[in-house]
Amino acid sequence: MIVPLGHVFVLAGLIFAMGLVCLVAHRNLIMTLIGVEVMMNAAAIAFVAAALRWQLMEGQAFVLFILAVSAAEISLGLMLVVSVYRRTGSIDPDRYDILKW
């Protein structure tokens, strides 16, 4: 009655791809984390659509968990970014090349 399942997945795929681009293309660590959030958003959409297709509530439960994990992860990630910034004064990931040969 609403839309074919494939369309929702295509939407999720598009959002995921955009999140991927955001992740790797920015020279700012915050944008990296935002990319991760976008990708998680895409995953949540896909899960909810799947839950509706099979009329099971497990999918929605999983989205809840995604939410919680994302919250934990982004807060930790931000804290790490703050730590790195304190140590080196920059949040450009290209500057952290001490392991380069």
Partner: protein, 624 residues
């Protein structure tokens, strides 16, 4: 195999051979610091071995069939190599000889080595040698004999280099080991040839007539010659003879035991052991005769000009061993074996007498010994004269009888040149032996007063009693010729006296001539004590430099081995092996450099790669 405890012979032979090994272990592990205990353990072990040997000799006197005990040792496929004991007349006689002389020498060493810091170590090595030599004599299979052959060589090395702080001693030990090793390589190759063709290495099998039928004659000659290579190395024959004079760096009892009576006699013993096998091929026999004769004559000439008392007896040992090999190659097993036995007696006696003077005056030089009044020590002097007379072949001492047997065997050969050479050797032997005797007996110039001649108490008698025992043996042994001949020939056709009576007088005459010439040059009151050879500088140098054999070897080693092989190997190592590894490592580093651009250190590229991999996995699932 009969039960161990029930069979007295087996128990006797096992104990005789293994007790010295136990004593070696005990001394090395436990009693290094307790000298008397070490000496006691070693002498006790050898005394038990001697008792066992005498028991076996008496018990099996007159046995016509050899007794063999063997146990499985190495078995693989077609090859069966046992470990065992072979009791036949020859091995029993040799066992007695080895045990007796080891015992006497170890008693003597109590006096000789007193005060030496390595006293216990010395007795440990003596026990090791006793074990190895006795098991060698009783071996029933060639591989076992080879193993103990090498062990005997090892103990010789350890004992020659006993005073290892002296550089010359370590050099001599190394030289002895390497030279005998050369011979042993040939020996081993010969053994392999035999093993390949016969399938096993038991002595009884090798000596049987079927063995000769199995091997083609060319191969038989080759195997015989290769095994003789081992004999050449161990018994210091030409061309591997120069290690023995250098081996005199060891203590004198070691020289008496190893390098005159037993170890170097192991080569001749091996010849006697494999007598039927080695004498199948006439070509091989000719080679043996040649080598024996050459060694005998060369060594005699070297002995004529030497001033070092131990070196003279060393050259004499080489010469007498050559003589024994001549006798064996001439076809008479009894000749070689009998001379081996008597030679052990009087040569050990010669060395031990010299040892008394060496120990007392701390010099090896004959003229020094005589100047310091060596002749005042009555027991060594008397024993020296007796032993020298035996060496020269003067009746009625044992040496005379044994030399006669060899000369008779040589007279039975068609070619008279061997007999002529042997007679020349008799003359030279008498000459150099009595040269030494007269130098010590009639000193020239001032004789220094040595005040402390008789200060030693038990130590003096520890050294004196073996001398007396050996002197008695030397006197008496010759009379046992007939019983020994019967004993050794049991099972083999007895050799008939061929009635060369003229030989008897000729040889005695030559010996007397040698003594006379020595008296003329060294013994008379007016003599200058310079030999006729020493007046000819060319000959003197030739003989003194050991016929330049050492120089030839040195040159060979320098040019061929150092100059050629060593350089080739070094070049190979540097330019091929090292270079290839270096190049490999450079390649690794360079390729790492080349690929290092991949690691940009940027986080984002890592992430890109990660997601690209994920995409590839998705692609795979899409397609597959």
């Amino acid at each position: 195999m009969t039960s161990w405890l029930q069979d007295a012979s087996l128990m006797a032979v096992t104990l005789s051979t293994w007790l010295p090994f136990i004593s070696f272990l005990l001394i090395i592990v436990f009693t290094r610091n307790q000298r008397r205990l070490s000496a006691g353990i070693a002498i006790g072990a050898v005394a038990c071995s001697l008792a066992g040997a005498i028991f076996l000799l008496v018990r099996h006197w007159g046995d016509s069939v050899p007794i063999q005990y063997s146990a499985r040792w190495l078995v693989t496929g077609d090859v069966y190599i046992p470990f065992g004991y072979l009791l036949d007349p020859l091995s029993l006689l040799m066992l007695c000889l080895v045990a007796a002389i080891s015992f006497l020498v170890q008693v003597y060493s109590v006096g000789y080595m007193a005060g030496d810091p390595g006293f216990s170590r010395y007795y440990a090595f003596q026990s090791l040698f006793a074990w190895a030599m006795m098991t060698l004599t009783m071996s029933s299979a060639m591989l076992q004999l080879y193993v103990f052959w090498e062990l005997v060589g090892l103990s010789s090395y350890l004992l020659i280099g006993f005073w290892y702080e002296k550089f010359s001693a370590t050099q001599a030990g190394k030289k002895a080991f390497v030279m005998t090793r050369l011979g042993d390589v040939a020996f081993f190759i010969g053994l392999l040839l035999v093993l390949l063709h016969l399938g096993n290495l038991e002595i009884l099998e090798m000596n049987s007539s079927e063995a000769a039928a199995h091997m083609p004659p060319g191969l038989l000659t080759l195997a015989a010659l290769l095994i003789f290579g081992g004999i050449v190395g161990k018994s210091a024959q030409f061309p591997l003879m120069t290690w023995l004079p250098d081996a005199m760096e060891g203590p004198t009892p070691v020289s008496a035991l190893l390098h005159s009576a037993t170890m170097v006699a192991a080569g001749v013993y091996l010849f006697a052991r494999l007598f039927p096998f080695l004498t199948h091929s006439a070509d091989a026999i000719t080679v043996f005769l040649v080598i024996g004769t050459v060694s005998m004559l060369l060594a005699s000439t070297m002995a004529m000009v030497s001033r070092d008392i131990k070196r003279v007896w060393a050259y004499s040992t080489i010469s007498q061993l050559g003589f024994m090999i001549m006798g064996l190659a001439a076809g008479s097993l009894f000749a070689g074996s009998f001379h081996l036995t008597t030679h052990a007696g009087f040569k050990a006696l010669l060395f031990l007498c010299s040892g008394v003077w060496v120990h007392l005056y701390e010099t090896n030089d004959v003229y020094d010994i005589s100047r310091r009044g060596g002749r005042r020590l009555k027991i060594p002097m008397a024993c020296l004269v007796i032993a020298a007379a035996a060496l020269s072949g003067l009746p009625p001492l044992s040496g005379f009888f044994s030399k006669e047997v060899i000369l008779e065997a040589l007279a039975g050969l068609r070619n008279p040149v061997w007999l002529a050479a042997a007679l020349l050797g008799v003359f030279l032997t008498a000459y150099y032996a009595f040269r030494l005797v007269f130098i010590i007996l009639f000193p020239r110039g001032e004789v220094q007063e040595e005040p402390n001649h008789h200060r030693m108490g038990t130590l003096y008698w520890a050294m004196g009693c073996p001398l007396l025992v050996l002197a008695c043996v030397t006197v008496v042994l010759g009379l046992l010729q007939m019983p020994l001949r019967q004993f050794l020939s049991a099972g083999i056709a007895t050799h008939q006296d061929s009635g060369h009576a003229w030989l008897f007088s000729l040889s005695v005459g030559l010996a007397a001539l040698g003594v006379g010439v020595a008296w003329f040059e060294f013994g008379r009151r007016a003599a200058l004590q310079v030999g006729f050879v020493e007046r000819m500088p060319l000959l003197k140098d030739l003989f003194a430099q050991r016929w330049y054999l050492d120089h030839v070897y040195r040159r060979f080693v320098d040019i061929v081995i150092d100059g050629f092989f060593s350089k080739a190997c070094t070049k190979n190592e540097d330019r091929v092996i090292n270079k290839s590894i270096d190049e490999l490592s450079h390649f690794t580093l360079d390729s790492g450099d080349l690929l290092s651009f991949l690691q940009s250190g940027k986080l984002r590229y890592n992430l890109i790669v990660m997601f690209a991999a994920l995409g590839l996995v998705a692609l795979y699932f899409l397609v597959a």
